[in-house]
């Protein structure tokens, strides 16, 4: 069967080069289309310096930037500053107003998917649904590690969406929830910070066996007398779940966009950590339509020893996607 999975990139992936002024927004958009990933996910608070004040002229410049390169917007990553005032959390009304502000800007940009930070309360989102419907924006709660698809916090959003019978509230999975193997880039950084190889290996082995993280953390911190780097490495296990890819089909009706998180791609274009080889067949089998949007987050793990090359990393991920999608199309029978 032919899948309807589309490919794109989040501008988040190029944060190192953009932060350092080595790539412009034009460069990033041009690169994305050059690798067959013309779907652009934007973080207005990163990529629009005058946020939240965006003129129609600026909107037009963005539309030209994308159109000239054959690209299009896929998703708007919102933020919510509930702690904007020191010592007092925003009222519910202010939170709704902030999200509605983003929904309106999202609509002005012609974007139909919004990434909602996972900490936003489901009852706040419920109040935003009428605006999401009016402006035709799908509010997708980011399912980010250590949460996972079946997590009770996520099910609360699903419950609201079902009860309201709305197509404008759901989820937006971050593929970091499918961390099957401990990322070598993490290990390398902790070893450079002083983690002993044998302790690092113990942590990697424990993750490989899917031992619940608190056992490993206690072993490392107390029984092995772990140093600062070793304890910090063990504590990353709290955020390193391997969710069951076979649950994807059950949740597929609730998401239209995926943040394709990754930390590193090997030169032969495989991901040593995230189980895309198990995830993509499930997406194809489910007949899922949406965009796999690269979210490279490896820069912070290697920048201490090498120049980051986000372009090459993202390129390799898309070689892998092309391969895995094509392979799944030949193997998967329609559901």
């Amino acid at each position: 069967m032919t899948s309807k999975i589309k490919r794109g990139v989040s501008l988040y992936s190029f944060q190192e080069e953009m932060f350092l002024g080595k790539m412009t927004l034009d460069d990033v958009v041009g690169f994305a289309t050059s690798i067959g990933a013309p779907g652009i996910e934007i973080l207005p608070e990163q990529n629009m310096p005058t946020f939240p004040n965006i003129s129609d002229r600026q909107i037009g410049e963005w539309q030209d930037r994308l159109a000239h390169r054959g690209a299009h917007f896929t998703c708007y990553d919102m933020f919510l500053d509930t702690k904007i005032r020191k010592g007092a959390v925003m009222s519910d009304e202010e939170q709704v107003a902030s999200i509605v502000r983003d929904i309106k800007l999202c609509n002005r940009l012609g974007i139909k998917n919004m990434r909602i930070l996972i900490f936003v309360r489901p009852d706040i989102l419920e109040k935003c649904v009428p605006y999401a419907e009016q402006y035709d924006v799908h509010l997708g709660v980011e399912v980010h590690a250590p949460w996972y698809l079946d997590h009770a916090w996520i099910l609360r959003t699903i419950e609201v969406a079902d009860r309201l019978k709305t197509k404008h509230l759901g989820i937006l999975p971050d593929m970091g929830i499918f961390m099957k193997h401990y990322p070598p880039a993490f290990r390398g950084r902790f070893e450079r910070q002083g983690a002993r190889p044998e302790v690092a290996q113990f942590i990697v082995d424990s993750h490989e066996q899917k031992i619940m993280c608190e056992y490993t953390i206690y072993e490392v911190a107390v029984k092995m007398g772990g140093n600062k780097a070793e304890v910090a490495m063990a504590e990353t296990l709290r955020h390193a779940p391997f969710a069951n890819p076979k649950r994807i089909a059950d949740f597929a009706p609730y998401f239209r966009h995926i943040q394709a998180k990754f930390y590193e791609m090997t030169p032969d274009c495989t991901d040593p950590s995230i189980a895309y080889d198990e995830v993509i067949p499930q997406l194809v089998k489910a007949g899922w339509e949406g965009t796999l949007s690269s979210e490279y987050e490896g820069n912070r793990w290697i920048q201490d020893v090498e120049d980051v090359d986000s372009r090459e990393q993202v390129r390799r991920q898309h070689v892998m996607f092309e391969h895995l999608i094509a392979k799944a199309e030949t193997q998967v029978e329609p559901a």
């Binding site: 988040y12 944060q15 190192e16 953009m18 932060f19 350092l20 002024g21 973080l43 608070e45 990163q46 990529n47 310096p49 005058t50 946020f51 933020f79 919510l80 500053d81 509930t82 702690k83 904007i84 005032r85 020191k86 930070l117 996972i118 900490f119 820069n299 912070r300 920048q303 201490d304």
Partner: protein, 128 residues
């Protein structure tokens, strides 16, 4: 995530009269993958050779004019954009000490989705 890139060492300069500097200044970036409103930047700690300088001595300017850390607490309409240098000025009679010294810069951010404050740290050996 960008700790080693926060201080622009080449931008360090004295401020005030050349023969009697009243302080020093340097350009710095926000160590975060997005911009942030100034009210959520709780501390900008500057140190020389590990010795902290007074909070009151520091002012920040992203281009909208110098502002103290106390005033930043309620500067709800100003932001430090992603990847954009801002001027960190420090009142320090005599200016930056001569010779090589370690210039430290720490940012304490109130990021709403995190349960704890976020700290960014850079330290560079610099000389004027």
């Amino acid at each position: 995530m960008f700790d080693k890139f926060l201080i622009d060492a080449a931008s360090l300069r004295n401020t005030g009269p050349t023969d009697a500097p009243t302080g020093f200044a340097f350009e710095a970036k926000l160590g975060y993958y997005r911009g942030l409103g100034l009210s959520m930047i709780e501390e900008l700690n500057v140190s020389i050779d590990g010795e902290a300088l007074a909070r009151e001595a520091v002012t920040f300017d992203e281009g909208e004019g110098p502002i103290t850390l106390d005033a930043m607490e309620t500067a709800y309409d100003r932001r430090w954009p992603f990847g954009a240098p801002a001027t960190i000025a420090v009142a320090h009679p005599g200016g930056f000490p001569s010779g090589e010294h370690r210039l430290g810069f720490q940012q304490k951010l109130r990021v709403s989705y995190l349960p704890f404050p976020s700290f960014n740290n850079d330290e560079k050996v610099v000389s004027l």
